[in-house]
């Protein structure tokens, strides 16, 4: 059974998340949540010479937020922190390959927000 929002790949990443868990002694660790729906994402990165060599996420939430986080962790391996800083909304939508309404867009972009905050070395998201 399929549905245009829940295409196979997204469901697969949700049900069998890749790169979920924690790293030993990560160089970057950032956590945030969406206060409206309670989705939570933690991202951990190991960085060598400015390039991501290992990545993991943890958290809970809807299929969109969790699958996006999982896919994104695979994507960032081998990317420099500067490349990560340049990832935008279009990149995420292309990666997911679905149309998303404004409400669910927040779910899809939460992992990117956490990832970029980590890449920028933020202690806290600026209000």
């Amino acid at each position: 059974m399929s549905d245009d929002l829940y295409r196979e790949a997204i469901l697969d990443y949700y049900k069998h998340p890749r790169r979920k868990g924690h790293l030993d002694a990560p160089d970057i660790h950032y956590h945030d949540h969406n206060p409206f729906c309670g989705d939570e994402i933690t991202v951990e990165l190991k960085v060598k010479d400015g390039v991501v060599v290992d990545a993991a996420f943890d958290g809970h939430g809807c299929a969109i937020s969790q699958a996006t986080a999982s896919m994104l962790m695979e994507e960032v391996i081998g990317k420099s922190l500067d490349e990560i800083k340049a990832i935008d909304k279009e990149y995420i939508l292309d990666m997911l390959g679905i149309e998303i309404g404004p409400v669910r867009l927040k779910c899809a972009l939460l992992p990117l927000k956490v990832l970029k905050a980590g890449a920028y070395g933020l202690e806290e998201w600026p209000e």
Partner: protein, 395 residues
């Protein structure tokens, strides 16, 4: 309500606990005010202002009769139940609460009945305590004697829970509070739209509810209070309409309820609420309640057929017209998204009751909430879509 969604599905609206749909008569009443007698109230001596004032005050009378208040003067118009609670916190609370006092609330409160007391607690230094709930989702009344003591100055509790559906024994709770000399504030946001309410029979000191959940417009709510309490309370906000006399050296307050209604009120909204009350009374609140019990019972039974579905709160006999639930392996957001595709509007999230969800051990839930216009056939579409959601996520 005949609306068809962009994907061609007829709309099934099961998000009534968030906000109900509005009948034609309410829309017409508001439109009529704006078109025919739009003017400010309590001021002008001209015809339009007199008509507007008469309609505005007639709405207050209708609301008073609807909840069996002794007098329309005890009906204060606010922006909603949230503002009504804040009004009590900032006026009665500031005048009466001090360090050593206790305010008792419950674990099943909406944020609107938690956060104002937390804010005030920081300012005034009283103690805030919580009545726990049982695993079934009822107030743990065995704990009440330990919590409700001579130190308790105010006991605030919800009449019908917006998550569990639980209808609390409010009359007994009020009596227990009064026995120790505490005042009670009852949050009726989820009860007044759905069942007959008599604030005098409940012996409520304060009773609050919102217009938009009972077929009325948004931006309008009600605070009912006992006369002697309202008379003794300081004003809420300063401005026009709430004063009797203003001098550069100081001012004197208007009488109740105007003392609490600074500025031009939401006139069209009050008139709209009056029309909503007319509408509900025409149908009859006993009938509204009976219809909802029937549909909730049916939905509850059909939902138990869905594997992995957990209903939060008590059985259908002890609940109002809403059912919050989780579905194993499917996040509530995803449930709501799939139901939306089937044309069914439900809410997903923590429903402004995070402490309650923490207590229940779930991050979020989905919630179907019914009203007088919902039908068993709609429940069937809803349950079919739940099965589909499960298929999508488990196959």
């Amino acid at each position: 309500m005949q609306r068809v969604l962009p994907n061609g599905r007829p709309l099934i609206y099961f998000d009534n606990a968030a906000s109900s749909q509005k009948p034609e008569s309410v829309l017409r009443a508001m439109d009529d005010y704006y078109r025919r007698y739009n003017a400010n109230v309590h001021r002008g001596v001209h015809t339009l202002s007199e008509e507007a004032t008469a309609a505005f005050e007639a709405a207050r009378e209708k609301v008073a009769k609807f909840i069996h208040a002794p007098s329309a003067r005890q009906i204060i118009f606010t922006r909603g139940a949230t503002e009504s609670i804040n009004l009590v916190a900032y006026t009665w609370g500031r005048a009466n609460l001090k360090p050593g006092d206790e305010v008792l609330i419950t674990e099943m409160e909406h944020h609107a009945n938690i956060v104002p007391w937390q804010i005030l607690q920081e300012q005034l230094g009283f103690t805030l305590r919580y009545v726990p709930i049982t695993d079934e989702g009822l107030l743990d009344l065995d704990e009440l004697p330990n919590l409700l003591t001579a130190r308790t100055k105010l006991f605030c509790f919800v009449h019908a829970s917006n998550v569990l559906g639980t209808i609390n024994p409010v009359r007994e709770l009020a009596a227990a509070a009064h026995a120790v000399g505490a005042r009670v504030l009852i949050d009726g946001a989820q009860s007044v739209p759905h069942l007959p309410v008599d604030v005098q029979a409940l012996d409520a000191d304060f009773f609050v509810f919102s217009s938009h959940k009972m077929c009325g417009p948004t931006g309008m709510g009600v605070l009912y209070g006992k006369r002697e309490l309202l008379e003794a309370m300081p004003p809420f906000m300063g401005g026009g309409d709430m004063i009797r006399e203003v001098k550069l050296t100081g001012s004197k307050w208007n009488s109740v309820p105007y003392k609490f209604e600074a500025g031009t009120p939401a006139i069209a909204e009050a008139i709209g609420l009056g029309a909503a009350v007319d509408y509900l009374q025409q149908v009859g609140m006993e009938r509204v309640h009976a219809h909802e019990r029937e549909i909730t019972h049916y939905a509850y039974t059909r939902m138990t057929e869905v594997e992995g579905l957990r209903i939060l709160g008590p059985g259908p006999e002890a609940r109002g017209g809403l059912i919050a639930f989780t579905l194993e392996g499917v996040h509530p957001h995803d449930i709501a998204a799939i139901l939306d595709r089937a044309g069914v509007a439900v809410r997903a999230g923590h429903h402004c009751a995070q402490p309650l969800h923490d207590r229940l051990g779930v991050h979020a839930s989905a919630r179907a909430s019914f009203y007088l216009y919902n039908t068993p056939a709609e429940v069937d579409v809803f349950v079919d879509a739940l099965h589909k959601a499960q298929e999508i996520f488990t196959l």
